[in-house]
């Protein structure tokens, strides 16, 4: 199974914790130079999957090949060519900004004294060039995340693992990071990122693997997934407004889904939903094109975010 175009090949991966299956027969292929997203709610098994790919924990079954190296057997060689930004902040608080890069380079067997220029480039890339000597406690959440990103780049890796890289950041800081990810992708690096933000998945990823309970529930480009699994338009309205519109009746051109206090009405044509709405113009409703959230909802019956 020699697949040179694949940066990552995973077959039938399985991991249980105390009898509970957390990763359940996951297969995955990431082509070199692409950005692939693992999209799923909290607890779907995204972090566990990344830990398995890094050789940090052993699978109960399945095969993993990262950049041509078998994991966990050759995980160390694979990690030498990977950059990792973990879900939790593990920057080194005993060091300032530049020292974090300096010492991290040593773990890759590099001589940091020869890398001053590279550090300057990386700090500029992250917009941290004025913070070289700043202690970490003076950095904002977004800055810390950007520092974690460039720390993962000191050894110029061909592939990056990013575990929920923008969770907890404000929209501006998130946007700033997205720009950086796009640039890394343009430079030809392969990106594997996990997220539970469908907007992030939609904007950044060439391909998505949608996970729920450790299983792949759908796979494809964001547009493909929407095309394949849901109608193009959706009307979102409160549950009682739905009853007023007579949504209980049989209507072959509409598909309705209930999620807590909201009803989602899906249709092939915008006009179907507009005519429905025109019967009751005061209804507080939102007509929009469908997106990944709707895909996830259609496939699992629950929302992506809790």
């Amino acid at each position: 199974m020699d697949d040179n175009a694949a940066a990552l090949l995973v077959t039938d991966l399985r991991k249980t914790y105390g009898g509970r299956t957390v990763v359940d027969g996951l297969s995955l292929r990431v082509a070199r130079g692409t950005c692939v997203g693992l999209l799923g709610p909290n607890g779907a098994g995204k972090t566990t999957t990344l830990r398995l790919l890094l050789g940090h924990t052993r699978p109960d079954a399945g095969r993993i090949e990262v950049l041509g190296f078998s994991v966990p057997e050759a995980a160390s060689q694979a990690r030498a060519r990977l950059g990792v930004v973990g879900q939790s902040d593990n920057l080194d608080p005993d060091f300032n900004v530049e020292e974090n890069l300096y010492h991290y380079a040593r773990y890759y067997g590099l001589d940091p004294r020869a890398l001053r220029e590279r550090f300057t480039d990386l700090l500029t890339f992250a917009g941290l060039e004025d913070r070289r000597d700043a202690p970490l406690r003076e950095l904002s959440g977004g800055m810390r995340r950007r520092l974690a990103l460039i720390r993962a780049l000191v050894h110029d890796p061909v592939m990056l693992f990013l575990d929920e890289p923008t969770t907890g950041l404000d929209p501006q800081a998130r946007f700033h990071l997205w720009q950086r990810f796009r640039q890394l992708r343009r430079e030809g690096r392969t990106l594997l990122l996990t997220t539970h933000y469908m907007e992030e998945a939609e904007r950044l990823c060439d391909r998505l693997v949608v996970l729920d309970h450790g299983r792949v529930v759908a796979e494809g480009s964001p547009q493909e997934l929407v095309r394949r699994h849901v109608e193009p338009f959706v009307l979102e309205l409160p549950a009682e407004a739905g009853r007023d519109l007579g949504l209980g009746e049989e209507r072959h051109e509409l598909r309705t889904l209930h999620l807590e206090e909201t009803v989602f009405v899906y249709a092939r044509a915008r006009e179907n939903l507009e005519s429905l709405l025109s019967r009751c113009p005061e209804t507080p409703a939102r007509l929009r094109p469908s997106n990944l959230e709707d895909v996830f909802f259609a496939l699992t019956g629950h929302a992506l975010r809790d």
Binding site: R14, R58, D92, D94, G109
Partner: protein
Amino acid sequence: MTEPRPPFRAHLPHLRRAFAVWRRNTAVWHKLLVPSLLANFGEPLLYLLAFGYGFGALVHRVGGLPYITFLATGIACSSAMNAASFEALYSTYTRMEPQKTWEGIHATPLGIPDIVLGELLWAGTKGLINALAILLVALALGLVAPAGALWALPVLFLSGLCFAALALVATAFARGYDFFTYYFTLVLTPLLLVSGVFFPLASLPQPVRLGARLLPLTHVVSLVRPLLIGQSPPHPLTDLAVLTVYTLLAGAGALVLFVRRFER
């Protein structure tokens, strides 16, 4: 249900990689050099002066030595033990858990065995540094022989490694800092009292004296004290063998335990 999980494998640590961890810890220590040196010199100096001169005025000669010399040569050993243990318990735990420094390092080619060896070497170094501080004080006071002090350094480094390895076994089980208090009061303090640091083994009852021969600190003292006063230790090979066996067994045990802890 599922097939049995393949056994985990603790690969052998890689010295060059472990050295990167050692350098990281050294760099942090270096940043805090002044306060940490003050602590290194200050506390033992106070002990030496207070006990050595205060108590020494009462007891004069112990084990054929002026009490202050007896004490200085003993404290050199116990400070290697204390510093290495403290580092491998509290500081290692801090880097491993709350600070997640290990997690960050583990994303690189370094494996847990490499990190553990780096921590072991650093904690051993920390033991040596603290013992060296005592030796410098003792030299300045004219209590020990300079040539002997040089010979004692590698032994003190080995002692640091030995106690670091033992402490790492405890750290591998730790779920919080409270645990370490027990280690100090239940393991290190008794060791300190029966190993000939403050008074000669000869003053202890026979069974305790025999038991003490199994303890590592006894062998450190038995090597270091004679060296520091310019004599040859009575049974250097036995002492070195005991310390080496403790270090290797505890070091290997710690390595396996940490790999298990992280591989979950």
